[in-house]
């Protein structure tokens, strides 16, 4: 299952990348499981641990831990917003 992941702002800087293409194991089918999958990379990726204040979007709509992730989706992770 191929998805595209985007990282923004402080999270982008901490992870050292703005975007990646990823082939997911079939079992990784929600935002919450994807976060755990990425956090397991270790080092700075602990920024995505479930307890961390990170927001997620799937296909440019705000998403929660239970939101489904599937083939071709664009998933984004970012800190709480601070515009305006």
């Amino acid at each position: 299952m191929a998805i595209r992941i985007l990282y923004f702002a402080g999270l982008r800087e901490r992870l050292g990348q703005a975007a990646e293409e990823l082939i997911l194991p079939v079992a990784i089918d929600t935002v919450g499981k994807l976060r755990a999958h990425l956090a397991a990379r270790g080092a700075n990726w602990d920024a995505l641990d479930a307890g961390k204040n990170v927001r997620a979007a799937v296909n440019q709509r705000m998403a929660g831990a239970e939101t489904a992730v599937g083939e071709g989706d664009e998933v984004a992770f970012f800190p709480p917003v601070t515009g305006g």
């Binding site: 923004f8 702002a9 402080g10 979007a57 440019q60 709509r61 800190p79 601070t82 515009g83 305006g84």
Partner: protein
């Protein structure tokens, strides 16, 4: 109804004129302009860079304006938000709401700003004499947006 995310500055008077021109039902125009302050959280700010999420940011702003439209009887609304590097004193965001009477225009304008602050994907990074830092989300902004949930 219009939403623009752009690097360029905007002219408030011209944007208001563009909304009101030719619509003689409009009697009230409420606006808000956010500007870069020269200090924040106790440190001087020498510049600020605004990052956004192309695509999602515009959709999010469209959705906030549509919510305001459903909630109040307004005639037109405009949001302009800049991205990129800005100096203290520069304009960041403009919200304009036009209606027949002022009560609706004021309420919808403040509603749009409160939700923009808490829902629209923008992030500010400040440059200070001590280095750069990402701005933290403010509890006061969550409270301001939460207000609108109690009718």
């Amino acid at each position: 109804m219009s939403v623009k995310v752009q690097a360029e500055d905007f002219d408030v008077g011209r944007e208001i004129a563009a909304i009101t021109r030719g619509n003689l039902a409009i009697g009230a125009v409420a606006s808000f302009v956010g500007t870069v302050r020269g200090a924040n959280d106790g440190a001087g700010v020498t510049a600020m860079t605004l990052e956004y999420y192309p695509g999602m940011t515009e959709t999010s702003l469209d959705d906030i304006v549509a919510q305001a439209r459903r909630r109040w009887d307004i005639i037109d609304a405009l949001v302009v938000h800049r991205y990129g590097r800005l100096q203290p004193g520069e304009q960041i965001v403009l919200v304009v709401v036009a209606g027949e009477h002022r009560g609706e225009a004021f309420a919808a304008c403040e509603f749009i700003m409160d939700f923009l602050k808490t829902e629209a994907p923008f992030w500010k990074k400040e440059e200070t004499p001590h280095g750069s830092r990402w701005v933290d989300a403010r509890e006061a902004d969550d409270q301001a947006a939460g207000r609108w949930k109690n009718p």
